[in-house]
Amino acid sequence: MTVQTSSDPSDHRFTMPRLSFRLIFGLGTLGILAILGLFGSVFLQDPNALAPANRLQFFSSDHWLGTDGLGRDLLARVVAGARISLAVGLLVAAFATVFGVILGLLAGYFRRLDPIIMRVNDGMLAIPELLLAVALASLAQASLTMVVFALTVPQIPRIVRVARAEVLVLRKSPFVEAAYISGSSRFKILTRHVLPNLVAPLSVQVTYVCAYAILGEAGLSFIGAGLPANTPSWGVIVSENRTFFMQAPWTVFVAGFFLTVTVLAVSAVGDELRKSAE
C-alpha cells in the first residue's frame, strides 16, 4: 500500500475487504444458495408436485425438510425460493442503484435540478417504505416484475441521498476542478471522475438495499400483496402454511430459517464492505 494524497481520486475507490470470517460466511452462504437455486431442480423433487397423502410430514429421508399442507416437498420449494429471493435482491439493488445514481448525479452536479429532485425525494421518504411498496404492488396483477418495481421505488431515495452527498464533496475536489479547467466535458467528468468514486460508498448502501429487498419480497408475499399464490417464494411458503402452524410449525420455520440466514449473509458482506471503506 502506498500513502495517497487527498487530491488523488483513487483514495475514494473501492478496496477489497480483508478476508474475514464474516465475509467468508456471507459470500459462502450466498454462493451455496445461488448454486442450489440455479441447479437444485436437477437433483431435487418438483417443488410443485402435489401429494395430499403425504401432507405435513416432519423431516425424513424422503423429505429432508418435511412436506407442506399440500404434500409438496419443502426442501424443493425452499430451494426454488432461494432463486426468487436472490433474483429479487439483485434486481432491486441493481435498478435502485442505476436510477438512484442517475438522479443523485443530476441533483449533485446540476444545481438547478437539485431542489426539485430533493423535494420529491423527501416526499417519497415521508411515505413508510412497506406502505409505499404495498401500494405500488397493487397497481397491476401480481408478478415478479411488479414486486421488483414496488420494492425498487422506495429504495431509490436512499441511494439518491448518498450519491448526491458524495457528488457534492467530489465536485469541489481538486481533481474534478482540474479536469474542468483542462476542458473536459461535463459528461466526461461525471463518468470518468465522479462515477468511479461513488463505487465504494455506494457498495455498502447497495448491500443493504439488497437485504431490504429480500425481506420486503417476503413481507409483501406474506401479506398477499407480492408474488402470486403457489409461487415457491419464501414469503408465500410461510403465508400458505400458517394455517397449519399449530400442527406443523416447521413448515413456517424452514422458510423463515433460510430467509434469516440469507439476510444475515447479505448484511455480513455489507458490514465487511463498510469496514474496508472506513
Partner: protein, 313 residues
C-alpha cells in the same frame, strides 16, 4: 425558536403536498375508472356521466388534483369503494389498536434498548457488548413475521402465557389490552431494541471519552452519576434521531405484525384496502401515515433544540 418552527412547518407542507401529488397520481395510473367503481353494479351511462361531473372527473387532471386537494383539506378523504363508508370513519374505527401497539413498542424498546446500549458502552468489547452486536444483526435479519411465529410458538403455544392472536380493546381494560398486545409489541421491538442499543452505545462511547466526563469524575461522581447526569444527555440527540426513525419504521412494521396477530388496526386495514384495490382508503392511509412521519421528524428536530441549547444558536 419561533422562526425556525415556521420555516420547518413550511417545508413540511411542501413535502406533504408532494406526497399528495404522488397519492393522486397513484389512482390516476391504477387504471380503474373511479366513477365505474363508485357507481356500483351496472350503471347507466347518464348516471356515470353525472358521477363524473360530481367528482370532477371531466375536468383536466391538474384541476382534478386541486379539487381533490380542496376536499382533503376540508377533512373529506372520500368514500371507500369497497364498503361505501367514509374513509375517515374507517380509519377512526381502526386507529386504537395501532396507536396502543405503537406506544407499547416504543416504550418497551426505549426501556430495554437505551440501558442495554449504555451498559455495553461502559465495557466495549465485553461480553454484553458482543451479545448486543450479535443480537442486533440477528434482529435485523429476522423477518418480522418469522419472529412473530417463533414468539407465538414459545410463549403462546408452549408456555400459554399470552394469546396466540387477537386484540382486546381498551374498553375491556388496559391490562387486557396490553396482555393481548405483548407478543406483537415484542416482535416489533426486536429490531428497534437492537437499533436503539447500538446507537446509544456508539453515542455513549463517544461522549464518555470527552474531557467533561473526566471533570465530572474529578468531582467524585460515581459511574451512575457520570452516565445518567453527564453522558446521557450529551448522547441523547443521536438516540432521538433513532427513536424518530424507529417510529417511522414502526408504521411499516405494523402492517405485517397486525396481519400475523389478527389485530384490527391500521396495518390490517392497509392490507385489506390494497388487496381490494380500495384506492380512497389507500390514499387516506398513505396521507395520514406520511403526515405522522413528518410530524415525528418535526418534533424530533424541535427536541434537539430543547436537549442542546447550542443547536438553537
Amino acid at each position: 425558536m419561533f422562526p425556525f418552527i415556521l420555516k420547518r412547518l413550511a417545508s413540511s407542507l411542501v413535502v406533504i403536498l408532494i406526497v399528495a401529488m404522488f397519492v393522486f397520481g397513484l389512482t390516476a395510473v391504477s387504471g380503474g375508472d373511479p366513477a365505474v367503481i363508485f357507481a356500483g353494479d351496472d350503471p347507466s351511462p347518464e348516471r356515470l356521466e353525472a358521477i363524473r361531473e360530481r367528482m370532477g372527473l371531466d375536468r383536466p387532471v391538474p384541476v382534478q388534483f386541486l379539487l381533490w386537494l380542496q376536499t382533503i383539506a376540508g377533512g373529506d378523504f372520500g368514500t371507500s369503494f369497497f364498503t361505501g363508508r367514509p374513509v375517515l370513519t374507517l380509519i377512526g374505527q381502526r386507529v386504537e389498536p395501532t396507536i396502543v401497539l405503537s406506544l407499547y413498542t416504543i416504550v418497551m424498546s426505549i426501556l430495554v434498548g437505551i440501558p442495554l446500549g449504555a451498559a455495553a458502552a461502559l465495557r466495549p468489547g465485553g461480553a454484553l457488548d458482543r451479545f448486543l452486536s450479535g443480537f442486533t444483526s440477528l434482529a435485523f435479519a429476522l423477518p418480522g413475521f418469522i419472529a412473530a411465529y417463533i414468539l407465538i410458538y414459545i410463549f403462546a403455544v408452549e408456555l400459554r402465557w399470552f394469546p396466540v392472536q387477537g386484540y382486546q380493546p381498551l374498553s375491556e381494560g388496559l391490562g387486557r389490552t396490553l396482555w393481548s398486545l405483548t407478543l406483537p409489541a415484542v416482535t416489533l421491538s426486536l429490531i428497534y431494541v437492537g437499533l436503539l442499543a447500538r446507537t446509544t452505545r456508539a453515542a455513549m462511547i463517544g461522549v464518555l471519552a470527552q474531557d467533561y466526563i473526566r471533570t465530572a469524575r474529578s468531582r467524585g461522581a460515581n459511574t451512575y452519576r457520570v452516565v445518567v447526569h453527564h453522558a446521557f444527555r450529551n448522547g441523547l440527540n443521536a438516540v432521538l434521531t433513532v427513536i424518530g426513525l424507529g417510529i417511522a419504521s414502526l408504521l411499516s412494521g405494523v402492517t405485517i405484525t397486525e396481519t400475523v396477530f389478527a389485530i384490527p388496526g391500521l396495518g390490517r386495514l392497509t392490507v385489506d384496502a390494497v388487496l381490494n384495490r380500495d384506492y380512497p382508503v389507500v390514499q387516506g392511509l398513505i396521507l395520514i401515515f406520511a403526515s405522522v412521519k413528518i410530524a415525528v421528524n418535526l418534533t424530533i428536530d424541535l427536541l434537539y433544540r430543547v436537549v442542546d441549547p447550542r443547536v438553537a444558536q
